[in-house]
Amino acid sequence: MANLSDKRRRSRGLHRYSTGDFFFDLFVAIFMIVVAVCSFYPFLYILFYSLSNVAMINTPLLFWPKGFTVEAYKLLLSDSTVPHAFLISVLRTLITPVCNLFVCLLAAFALSHQHFPGRGFFQKFITITMYFSAGMIPSYILMVRLHLTNSFLVYVIPGLFSVFNMIMIKTYIESIPPALEESAMIDGAGYFKVLFRVILPLLKPVLAALFLFMCVGQWNTYADTLLYNAGNKDLHTLSYVLMNFIQQSTSTAEQARERVGLNTVNTTSLKMSMTVLVVIPIMCVYPTLQKYFASGLMIGSIKG
């Protein structure tokens, strides 16, 4: 290889690694490192700040915790409502995405078939709802009329269907060769069997991605708690409890100083700690779902 002339190398699609290539690669590497650091450092800063003694922080940047302390976390977790709120958050984070994906899957499968009667109408009818929203007050009236206020079901039922998720799944189903479904039907499978035994296993990548997005959304949101379940402590979610905690954090930080001699926390460190607490569960879920993003599940699926 090393003895081939440049012309012959080019004819074979080979390219000699030149000095220009080296500097280009070096530039790209440095650039990407800078982008990675700029992307990741804010989170590190939040983490370091939350673990620092605020009285010792006197620089705008932090590269490690100064005066390591976990008092902000102790203070946040000292609220007696946190464990129950955590349970509610976990429940809604698991239940709502599963139910949503199930409903969207059914709709997507039906709409992916060209011969489905009224397909065009239903598609347009559903898609229009993506662009228009009645607003907060009509939504509130609807939830009241449906008796969903002060109920856990307000976390599930309004989120049962998502047009975006349905379109994503439908598009993915349409990319699957129809021969797969036809071959299953020739073998005697009905629509449900086709959906759950043939199509569903192939949808793992898109379902995993949507499941993750929904989990993140469900975990972080507190607006529905604020609007519909504010008066019921049993239905408060973790993000709502922590958000409330932070809203009152001035007096909370002050009480902390006096109650337990904590003088290492302030409003900002409480907010940072809250951010870390809320992010950690999602960061644990991400690696678990990474493997489902792999492609190549289609190989060998079609007979003949």
Binding site: V54, A55, N58, I88, L91, L94, I95, V98, C99, F102, M136, I137, P138, Y140, I141, V144, R145, T149, N150, S151, F152, L153, V156, F196, R197, L200, P201, A223, L226, L227, A230, G231, N232, K233, D234, L235, M243, N244, Q247, Q248, T250, A253, E254, Q255, R257, E258, R259, N263, N266, T267, T268
Partner: protein, 588 residues
């Protein structure tokens, strides 16, 4: 097959789980404020235990039986009050509840527009009729406020609300003189100089910066402000003008007690300009923090908590926490002290410093809605609240526990109350049930003066504030001959002090947002706000004057005919005439 079974099982499991929390819905969490005896007529069964749900925006979740004040109410009225603290957009929540019809039986409507919508929708009970039937004490105790409540209701003389913390003397008490907050050590080092006008503070801070170029390794800042926040730049920093005869306001039109008219602060007075010029001088001298226009209030507060800022302005309510943080960090020598400020021209003009008594605190408009099943029981509590016994309990707590009464009849807070207030007591919940947004103020707690001259609300009482004065403030004030937190304003040898009432300046505006005067007023406000930073950052006196001239020219061009001022004065006259009419005719 196994996969299908597994999928079916998983789905069944999650649906079952969805059912379980839903089944845990509690009965008393209804947002319509259901009573424990909701099926019975409350008029007949007076002693049955009942519950009241009340939402306080910015408040904390609490149950009344968790504190001694609430227990007293439970023993007396058999009521359990569940308070829900709401941290979101409360006005939107109230609007949604009105639209859905599931508003609670008693609520606080902070937004005047939402309140008027409730009145128009017929969602509120006639408070005047309720007072006549169930709470006659209210008609006597609040006889001065009732015309204001009729005016606020704007319903042909009917009264659909009352306002808690009314009258409110907070603006005339110690921590509410929103003036200069200065690090105490530089005052001591410079031998307690005379501090009042702009130049005195500029000199103080310049010398302070020279003596302390660094504080604990960080560059010392002369003055910090969280001007990235709109309210700091637009509402707080501009209020230097309101340190004389003008009370605080929007900064466009202000009531002039001398002429008894509304004046345009930018065109008819030099006070606003001089206030901005003060900030410009601070900027040019390098005293005002260069990061002030990008700092939020919490950023400025953090700089104060480390002691590296020599001063701030207006945010006096943050000082107790800041000084405690400094004490905890063993930096008590940097404690901040509130000092008075007045413009040179106001001093030369011999203007009095005014303290405004807010006759009707509309941010705490309390209503009883038509969903109420316990309106008679609620009004019984309100009736009791309008007595000395009720005011003392709601405002000062339990006699013997939170306060004692001296031989002169004056209430004195107990050491335990003061210790809890200062954070040095062992029981941090000792004062629960008292204080701003944590008390049962919504039953009609007044923040006015009683017959002995003490405030009904303990947190605004000067004796309590004096007892809570920190050592740095005591030391500094003593050198100026001041012994009370209010002395720098009420007993200052350099100016006189005058009380005014908010009613004197009350003015009816046009509720139509598209009315010409409202549109122009909004434009004037935005124009002013957009030019503030530029004026503050002028590079020299000549540059400031040039920029000010341009600013005024543009300001005049927006409303050349003076429609805003004209309409404001017409509205003012109309309001005053209406208030006189309500005072004369009484409740309809």
């Amino acid at each position: 097959m196994n996969f299908k079974r597994g999928l079916a099982f998983a789905l069944a499991a999650v649906m079952a789980c969805a059912a379980l929390p839903a089944c845990s819905k509690t009965d008393n969490a209804s947002s319509s404020g259901s009573s424990a005896s909701s099926g019975a007529s409350s008029a007949k069964v007076k002693n049955d235990p009942w519950e009241l749900d009340f939402t306080i925006p910015g408040g904390k979740d609490a149950v009344s039986t968790d504190n001694s004040i609430g227990q007293y109410l439970k023993n007396k009225f058999n009521v359990t009050i569940k308070i829900t603290g709401y941290s979101g957009d409360y006005s939107s929540l109230c609007a949604g509840e009105l639209a859905a019809g599931n508003y609670p039986e008693m609520m606080m409507l902070s937004d005047s527009t939402v309140f008027k919508n409730y009145v128009k929708a017929g969602a509120l009970m006639d408070m005047g009729a309720l007072a006549k039937k169930y709470a006659p004490n209210m008609l006597t105790f609040y006889k001065d406020q009732i015309p204001l409540w009729q005016y606020i209701s704007d319903a042909d003389g009917k009264m659909y609300c009352f306002t808690a913390d009314s009258p409110d003397v907070e603006q005339t008490t110690g921590g509410s003189f929103f003036d200069m907050c200065v690090r105490s050590d530089i005052i001591k080092e410079q031998n307690y100089p005379t501090l009042l006008d702009e130049d005195s503070y500029i000199n103080l801070l310049k010398k302070g910066l020279t003596a302390h170029p660094k504080t604990d390794g960080q560059t010392t800042l002369g003055m910090v402000q969280g001007a990235a926040e709109n309210w700091v730049l637009v509402q707080a920093m501009t209020q230097i003008y309101a340190r004389g005869k003008y009370g605080e306001g929007s900064g466009i039109l202000q009531y002039d007690p001398d002429t008894k008219k509304k004046v345009d602060l930018i065109l008819d007075s030099t006070n606003f300009k001089e206030g901005i010029r003060f900030w410009n001088k601070m900027w040019r001298e390098g005293i005002l923090d260069k990061e002030c226009f990008t700092d939020k209030d919490e950023n400025a507060e953090q700089k104060l908590e480390t002691g590296r800022a020599l001063s701030t302005f207006y945010v006096t309510w943050e000082l107790p926490d800041i000084n405690k943080a400094l004490k905890a960090a063993k930096k008590s020598q940097y404690s901040y002290v509130i000092m008075p400020i007045m413009l040179k021209s106001q001093i030369a003009d011999k203007q009095s410093r005014v303290g405004t008594i807010t006759d009707a605190y509309t941010s705490q408009t309390i209503v009883i809605t038509k969903n109420s099943k316990n309106y008679d029981k609620i009004m019984q509590i309100v009736n009791w609240a309008c007595t000395e016994e009720g005011q003392n309990l709601l405002g000062w707590g339990i006699k013997g526990k939170h306060y004692t009464v001296g031989t002169d009849g004056l209430k004195v807070p107990t050491a335990a109350y003061i210790a809890c207030m200062n954070g040095t007591g062992s029981d941090t919940h000792f004062n629960d049930g008292l204080g701003n947004l944590t008390s049962y103020f919504f039953f009609g707690l007044s923040s006015g003066y009683d017959k002995n001259g003490q405030c009904y609300n303990i947190i605004h009482d000067t004796s309590v504030q004096n007892a809570a004065m920190d050592n740095a403030t005591k030391d500094i004030y003593s050198h100026y001959g001041w012994t009370s937190v209010t002395d720098p304003w009420k007993k200052n040898k350099q100016f006189s002090y005058k009380l005014i009432h908010s009613t004197d300046a009350m003015s009816k505006g046009n509720s139509d947002a598209q009315a010409e005067e409202n549109v122009l007023s909004t434009q004037l406000g935005k124009y002013r706000d957009n030019h503030l930073a530029g004026l503050i950052m002028a590079s020299s006196d000549a540059d400031f004057e040039a920029k000010w001239a341009n600013f005024v020219a543009g300001y005049k061009a927006i409303d050349p005919k003076g429609i805003v001022k004209q309409k404001a004065n017409e509205g003012y006259k109309e309001t005053q005439d209406l208030l006189k009419k309500y005072k004369t005719e009484g409740l309809q």
